[in-house]
């Protein structure tokens, strides 16, 4: 039994549950039917507490217990969840998050945290209405409270279990190593009489009480090899009476028979059982038998919230069914491995195709490899799409931050999200989270003005923060905009001069001034608010974006607002490439930036200024030979590949055009981090290594005219 793995799973699940709880709380603050959010919150805390109990995490159980009780009352309409209580619940949520973080870091809870927790609990206490604290949290007030501390396992082995080489005895023995079997009943109720009895059929059923610290998964794993053919049901510790009753109803044997087994095992008291069953029987005789749930409420055997929870559980189980069908969790490592393999497949496919082409043997080999490659392309696209996650998840996290920070600063800020369903490679999303956070905080801290300032400026009281994601020709664009005061050019310039980043007499365009904020050592915050972090600057943000092979640009208008626009590649792994050759060596450009390919000569406008004229549009070009300082004579006939990055277009002049192909990007490695013009490498079908061009850098280079010495003269700032 791997306790560590189980614990990790618990931490991950607890975090997800906490997110769900937070979402629900924030949803409550807007109008609408509170039923579902309240239920969601209750479920979240209930599950966190229950599982914590399993791992003996008393601190979490202790804290979550009261929170759950309050939520219980909310569900029962005895307490209203609004206003201050919502804020208190958010604090409770944060505290739980802290406890989980401690668990992850393997740290004991600090006294400060303990104190904070008790304070929150103290403030929650009045909402408990003085009295509904339950000793055993889930057990209804039954005359003799059954103590349901163990797992209940209900197993009906499939007919072929013996034939498949299994012996139920070995499972029982193994279970004994996971914990203590406090009670076990063998059931042979399906055993036929006379000769109808096939001795090689398995008719064994087991009802087991197991005291164990093992997780549900560990217990289920014991029965891995018979899971397919057998009926295996687990009821966790501290389950409701209803859970057992439902279990009973789900099993083939007679209810009272089963009920008595459960009583013998300690799950139910005889009293609970006979009551529930007796009443049910009576009702069933009459027309319109009531739901067991209703019976229990009306006869006052179980307090309403508990029944509601039970019914809820059923409903949730039904929901979970449908949801489970739609989504499965996959280990990130497995996914990476799959993508790696697909990458190798892509290369192998290209190799096969290259060999087929060289072989010239005909006989349909070329078509065959082409067919294979088409399928490989599809698999590649599918595999890559598995790595894609919606950016909405990341965007949503900012709701809470915007809410808290704006309250703290006394500003009114609304968050609008567009394009949440835009998908990105998961690695990119992970790495984007920090820079995005920083930009958002800047916008809240410095961008959007306080209410009075906005009013004075004739703006709506509430400032708006836009988070927007969209696709654009092979890239993904993420924008963070605010309708605040915009960046102050003069202050930026002054600060930069003060920091020694530019000379006092330097002449800079507006754009250049704004971009100074990305220089290391720059920060416009007069006071480093504790919200914006350690005074970490936009230079770190830009570096993060660089590492993602992306770009970031700023648009701002004084008094109106600022937009930060990030452009990122869609995928890091496999691309469709376009191969070119210079002096016999191959280079690859991502296919989606290639607009068209031409012979250079007909479109050459000015060799001296490195310009081409593309049907009236004059574009700069650069010659790879020159940029890369490759020795040798240029061929008489050169080609140009027109590429586009963002709004800039340029031509890349090469010797030969080699065509499209798909390939895996292999990073060049840490050694080549400073390499210019290159964004990785790839292995061709021939085994040769080809270098991937960094289109962004090259286009920038072309636009700046550094490719052609004479153009530098043209690029003097006018202004």
């Amino acid at each position: 039994m791997d306790l560590d793995a189980a614990r990790q799973t618990y931490i991950i699940e607890a975090r997800e549950l906490l997110e769900a709880m937070e979402e629900a709380l924030l949803a409550l603050e807007e109008a609408g039917d509170p039923t579902e959010p309240v239920n969601a919150m209750f479920r979240a805390v209930h599950t966190i507490k229950g599982s914590a109990g399993l791992f003996g995490l008393d601190g979490i159980v202790h804290f979550a217990h009261t929170v759950e009780s309050v939520l219980d009352r909310v569900r029962g309409h005895q307490v209203a969840l609004e206003g201050e209580l919502i804020g208190l619940m958010l604090e409770a949520h944060d505290h739980l998050g802290g406890l989980i973080a401690d668990l992850q870091a393997d740290q004991p809870e600090s006294p400060a945290s303990r104190l904070q927790g008790e304070q929150i609990l103290a403030r929650l206490a009045p909402h408990l209405g003085g009295g509904l604290t339950k000793a055993a949290p889930q057990a209804p007030e039954a005359p003799e409270g059954a103590v349901r501390e163990g797992w209940h396992l209900s197993i009906r082995f499939g007919r072929d279990v013996f034939r498949n080489g299994m012996d139920p005895l070995s499972f029982v023995r193994f279970l004994g190593t996971l914990g203590r079997i406090t009670h076990l009943t063998s059931i042979f109720s399906s055993l036929p009489q006379r000769e109808a009895f096939e001795p090689e059929d398995c008719h064994l059923g087991l009802e087991i009480e197991l005291d164990t610290a093992a997780s549900r998964a560990a217990i289920e794993d014991v029965f891995e090899f018979v899971r397919e053919d057998s009926l295996i049901q687990l009821v966790p510790p501290n389950a409701l009476v209803e859970d057992y009753l439902r279990l009973i109803r789900a099993l083939p044997e007679e209810e009272r028979f089963l009920g008595e087994i459960l009583v013998a095992g300690g799950c139910l008291t005889a009293h609970e059982l006979s009551q529930a069953l007796a009443v049910q029987k009576q009702e069933a005789r009459q027309e319109g038998a009531r739901l067991l749930g209703t019976i229990l409420i009306e006869d006052n055997a179980v307090p309403p919230p508990v029944v509601a929870a039970a019914l809820d559980k059923q409903k949730k189980a039904a929901e979970r069914q449908t949801q489970e069908l739609r989504v499965i969790k996959v280990s990130a490592d497995k996914l990476d491995r799959l993508v790696d393999l697909v990458g190798e497949l892509v290369i192998a496919g290209a190799t096969a195709h290259a060999r087929a082409a060289a072989a010239q043997g005909g006989g349909g080999l070329l078509e065959a490899t082409q067919t294979v490659n088409k399928l490989v392309e599809e698999i590649r696209d599918n595999a890559l799409s598995l790595r894609m996650v919606q950016i909405g998840e990341t965007f949503n996290r900012f709701r809470r931050i915007v809410r808290d920070v704006s309250k703290e600063l006394g500003k009114a800020i609304e968050l609008e999200i567009h394009g949440a369903e835009t998908e990105l490679d998961k690695t990119i999303v992970e790495k984007l989270s920090d820079p995005l956070m920083h930009i958002v905080r800047n916008a809240i801290d410095h961008g959007i003005e306080p209410v009075d300032v906005r009013q004075a400026r004739g703006k709506p009281e509430s400032g708006t923060l836009f988070l927007q994601a969209s696709h654009e020709a092979g890239s993904i664009i993420i924008e963070v905009s605010d309708d605040g005061g915009g960046l102050n050019k003069d202050r930026i310039l002054a600060k930069a001069i003060e920091r020694g980043l530019v000379r006092a007499d330097a002449e800079l365009t507006d754009n250049e001034i704004i971009n100074l904020i990305f220089e290391p050592g720059f920060s416009t915050a007069d006071a480093v608010s504790n919200l914006s972090g350690r005074g970490v600057g936009m230079d770190v943000v830009r570096r993060n974006i660089d590492e993602l092979r992306g770009t970031i640009e700023v648009e701002t208008a004084p008094g109106q607002g600022t937009t930060m626009r990030m452009r990122l590649p869609l995928t890091l792994a496999i691309i469709d490439g376009f191969r070119v050759e210079v002096a016999g060596a191959s280079y690859v450009a991502p296919l989606d930036v290639v607009i068209e390919c031409l012979d250079l000569a007909p479109f050459l406008e000015s060799e001296e200024n490195h310009l081409i004229n593309l049907r009236g549009e004059v574009l700069p070009f650069l010659r790879l030979r020159e940029v890369f300082r490759i020795p040798g004579e240029r061929p008489r006939r050169e080609r140009v590949v027109v590429i586009q990055h963002g709004e800039l277009r340029a031509g890349i002049v090469v010797d030969r055009l080699m065509g499209e192909f798909q390939t895996v990007i292999k990073p060049l490695g840490r050694l080549f981090r400073g390499a210019r013009g290159l964004g990785g490498s790839t292995i061709l079908g021939t085994g040769e290594v080809a270098l991937i061009l960094d289109v962004a850098q090259l286009v920038q280079l072309a636009a700046e005219g550094t490719a052609a010495p004479s153009r530098r003269a043209l690029a003097a700032p006018t202004h």
Binding site: K666, G669, R670, L671, A675, L678, I683, G687, V689
Partner: protein, 171 residues
């Protein structure tokens, strides 16, 4: 590219019986001089060939090669030592070295004139680097050993191939 020799990483014997620890070193020549490096870092030795040039790199970067699907950089040690570039000849080899830098391992290829033999050198046979030398930076040299009638310069691979330093030179 044919593989000439392949070593397992853990070839060093910790001889319980012998009095002295002997380590194994791979000896190779560079512009006529014999050097050696600790075998533990060496993964394999391959024939020189199939190098793709990487433009705008300092001269000691010879390029990159395809090593069974991985793109591995190749460094010309001679240039690294401030001498003339190695001219590829029939016996020119690339020694693939596994470097541990922090938490990652990095594969690096080193281009040498040829690879001669594996030497077993005991601690007592190693002398510290001489104050004057063949013009190689002292941090690069782990020591000098006398093998038979010649001197073999033992290289400190981690310094020679410090990724920190190299990537800084690259910019």
């Amino acid at each position: 590219m044919a593989e000439l020799i392949k070593f397992s990483k853990r070839q060093t014997q910790v001889a319980a019986v012998k009095v002295e620890r002997r380590e194994q070193y791979l000896a190779f020549t560079l512009a006529g001089e014999t050097f050696a490096m600790d075998i533990r870092a060496i993964r394999e030795v391959i024939q020189f060939g199939g190098i793709t040039d990487v433009p705008l790199m300092p001269p000691f970067i010879r390029g990159v090669i395809n090593l069974r699907g991985a793109v591995v950089p190749v460094i010309d040690l001679s240039v690294r030592f401030g001498r003339a570039a190695t001219a590829p000849a029939q016996r020119t080899c690339i020694v693939i070295i596994e470097l541990e830098q922090g938490e990652d391992t990095l594969d690096l290829g080193v281009m040498v004139d040829n690879v001669s033999e594996v030497l077993s050198i005991g601690e007592s046979e190693i002398e510290p680097a001489p104050a004057f030398g063949s013009g190689i930076r002292s941090e690069f040299i782990a020591g000098v050993a006398k093998v038979g009638d010649r001197f073999v310069i033992l290289l400190d691979v981690n310094h020679v191939l410090s990724v920190e330093e190299l990537s800084e030179i690259i910019g």
